[in-house]
């Protein structure tokens, strides 16, 4: 049983990407846009963050580069979905493929290896609190969650975001710029996905690869469903999904346990748990009325 407690520090880290990406997606979906390109956004942002950290010798500038990459990809997706009224699911899948290809190509072009390890000097330094070393992202994540919740539910801006997701026509009638808000909501979601990507490469896994997020972008989508689009529940979901992610990583690395169950079986745990949780949770989720539908004035 000790193992279940030993996992906790890793679980706190594993919570970060699944929560950040999900909270960003919640904001995007509240405005009426679906972005299933989170996986690709995380992949490419993780790479650009690594490049930024490598080029500037400052990990925090790397994080910023990752955030910006996510925002730009969010802008691309938003432009296609909102301004061109394109198919959001197709665009999202395209971004996923693009992320995978660009990282494989870019890492090869820069360093001559597809999955380079990142040297210690590229890493984001930890923060020491009460003698324990914390990842700054673990502290940042609840702050982002609370901030997003406050904006969505306690400000006029958030009311407008939710209005364009539920009833774009009505929002337009009262003078809200539907498409502009949707575009920025998609950028915000992309930026948080970018932050999640930067965390993966610069703080947690210390490597870059075309499949670095290993499905976590899609687990974040499952977390959106689980959370019923509530940022605080997404934090809970992020911890839940992250816990099993961490458990798999931990069990796979513990020598004594590795013999009882093959390593490869253990690695399937997070995906199976996600399937089960989504199957149980989905009945309760209610999505914005205009989700996935482009808006055009009649």
């Amino acid at each position: 049983m000790n193992i279940l407690i030993d996992v906790l520090p890793v679980a706190l880290r594993a919570m970060v990407p699944i929560t950040l990406a999900a909270v960003g997606e919640i904001f995007t979906e509240r405005a009426g846009v679906v972005n299933i390109g989170l996986e690709g956004i995380m992949t490419l942002s993780a790479f650009i963050a690594g490049v930024g950290s490598w080029a500037t010798r400052d990990p925090w500038l790397g994080v910023l580069a990752g955030l910006a990459t996510g925002a730009v990809l969010g802008l691309v997706h938003g432009f296609i979905s909102v301004c061109l009224r394109g198919n959001q699911v197709v665009s999202g899948v395209g971004i996923n493929l693009l992320g995978m290809g660009a990282v494989g190509f870019g890492a090869w072009a820069l360093w001559g290896a597809k999955s380079p390890m990142l040297d210690h000097s590229f890493w984001v330094p930890g923060i020491s609190l009460w003698g324990v070393n914390f990842s700054p992202f673990v502290i940042m994540t609840p702050v982002v969650v609370a901030f997003t919740w406050l904006v969505l539910h306690k400000t006029a801006l958030g009311l407008r975001v939710r209005a364009v997701g539920e009833a774009p026509v009505a929002a337009d009638v009262v003078g809200i710029h539907v498409n502009r808000l949707r575009l920025w909501a998609t950028v915000y979601g992309g930026a948080l996905g970018g932050l999640a990507g930067a965390f993966l490469s610069l703080d947690w896994l210390h490597t870059i690869s075309p499949t670095l997020p290993a499905g976590r972008g899609f687990i974040a989508l499952a977390n959106v469903v689980f959370s019923k689009l509530n940022p605080f529940l997404a934090l809970v979901g992020g911890f839940l999904f992250g816990y099993f992610d961490a458990l798999a990583i931990h069990l796979a690395s513990v020598a004594g346990f590795g013999g009882a169950l093959p390593y490869q079986f253990i690695r399937t745990i997070p995906y199976l748990v996600t399937l089960v949780v989504v199957a149980l949770a989905i009945g309760r989720a209610r999505f914005p009325a205009a989700l996935g539908q482009p808006y055009r004035r009649e």
Partner: protein, 342 residues
């Protein structure tokens, strides 16, 4: 005609952006593309290789295409393809009378693909789980399961980097160069789905369910049954993609990092979109990407990594998101995304 132009536009855009990236990186895009197309079409042997590489893409493209026809976004071909490859290989290793092995391996592989796709249908129809999430999760489960089997159970003790080979008599016979009679499998699958979708009531129901589920229900069509059929048929097609990749291509085995299976399942998405989710269009789309895959090897000799192809593919898919929308607007919006008749 319009749809062909839109697909060609997306292809050109993909190639242009690929050229830009190469130019920025200091490579000569013109020479690289010339190497690519010479490597893919330059002689009979090269052409046979391009066709051969397009065969599994036809099948995974069909998986995605029939899903879209039913109003689904089925991106589970990757996992189903992996399972099909494993089961195809394992059953070819079984002790069966020689003449039977290949057909038996193909049947078992299709069954495995159907079984692997079944949870996707059940989760969607019984619990309302989006197929986008369930298929990706099952893709990863298939990936790790296959790694386990390939490394621990099927590994060739003499050659650690791959599994046992398919016995000589159980392989698809060669036609020309790399091209094998697996050609018939892909062609028949595409023609069968074409016939089903346009000349059979079941296929008509699938298309009706995809175009407008409410109207279809009103007309007495079971949308749920159509969705189930589209997912299961897709599973069988994707599994065959994996099976012919192992039973019909050197080294007739699975490498222990699964690299030989690559991203055949995901590539099918771009293939289907370029082919406008029409079984015959899928044949054309698959040939284009088969060409890229074959030519990429030649481009690789010039120091351009194969990932370039994936970038081009991503750009093409992203740009295919747009024309669809303009057509949708003309026919008035309905509730299910990605559809349209070709």
């Amino acid at each position: 005609m319009r749809v062909v132009l839109e697909s060609l536009g997306a292809l050109v855009l993909g190639l242009v952006i690929g050229a830009l990236i190469m130019a920025v990186w200091g490579r000569d895009p013109w020479a690289s593309y010339r190497a690519l197309f010479e490597g893919a079409w330059g002689n009979t042997r090269a052409l046979a290789s391009s066709v051969s590489r397009s065969l599994p893409l036809v099948l995974t493209g069909l998986t995605f295409a029939i899903g879209v026809r039913a109003g689904l976004f089925n991106i589970g071909a990757q996992g189903q393809m992996i399972i099909g490859a494993i089961v195809g290989l394992s059953s070819a290793l079984l002790a069966l009378p020689a003449g039977f092995k290949l057909p038996v391996a193909m049947v078992l592989s299709a069954l495995a693909g159907v079984l692997w796709a079944l949870p996707v249908a059940l989760l969607k129809l019984l619990r309302g789980v989006s197929e986008v999430i369930s298929t990706i999760m099952l893709n990863w489960v298939a990936h790790w399961l296959a790694l386990y089997l390939v490394v621990r159970k099927l590994s060739d003790p003499v050659r650690g980097e791959r599994t046992f080979q398919v016995p000589v008599g159980m392989r698809f016979p060669l036609i020309q160069g790399e091209l094998t009679w697996a050609l018939v499998v892909s062609l028949l699958a595409a023609l069968f789905l074409y016939w089903l979708l346009w000349y059979h009531a079941k296929g008509y129901e699938i298309r009706a369910a995809g175009l407008n589920p409410k109207a279809a229900t009103t007309a007495g069509i079971s949308v749920r049954r159509s969705i189930l059929l589209a997912i299961l048929l897709g599973g069988a097609c994707a599994a065959w993609a994996g099976a012919i990749q192992v039973l019909g291509r050197f080294p007739y085995a699975i490498t222990s990092d699964l690299a030989i299976l690559g991203s055949l399942g995901f590539d099918g998405i771009a293939v289907a979109l370029i082919g406008r989710n029409h079984p015959l269009g899928v044949l054309a789309g698959a040939f284009f990407f088969g060409t890229l895959a074959t030519g990429a090897a030649r481009m690789g000799l010039r120091g351009i990594p194969i990932d370039m192809i994936q970038i081009i593919q991503g750009v093409i898919v992203v740009s295919m998101a747009i024309p669809e929308a303009f057509r949708l607007l003309r026919v008035k919006k309905t509730s299910v995304p990605t559809k349209g008749k070709s």
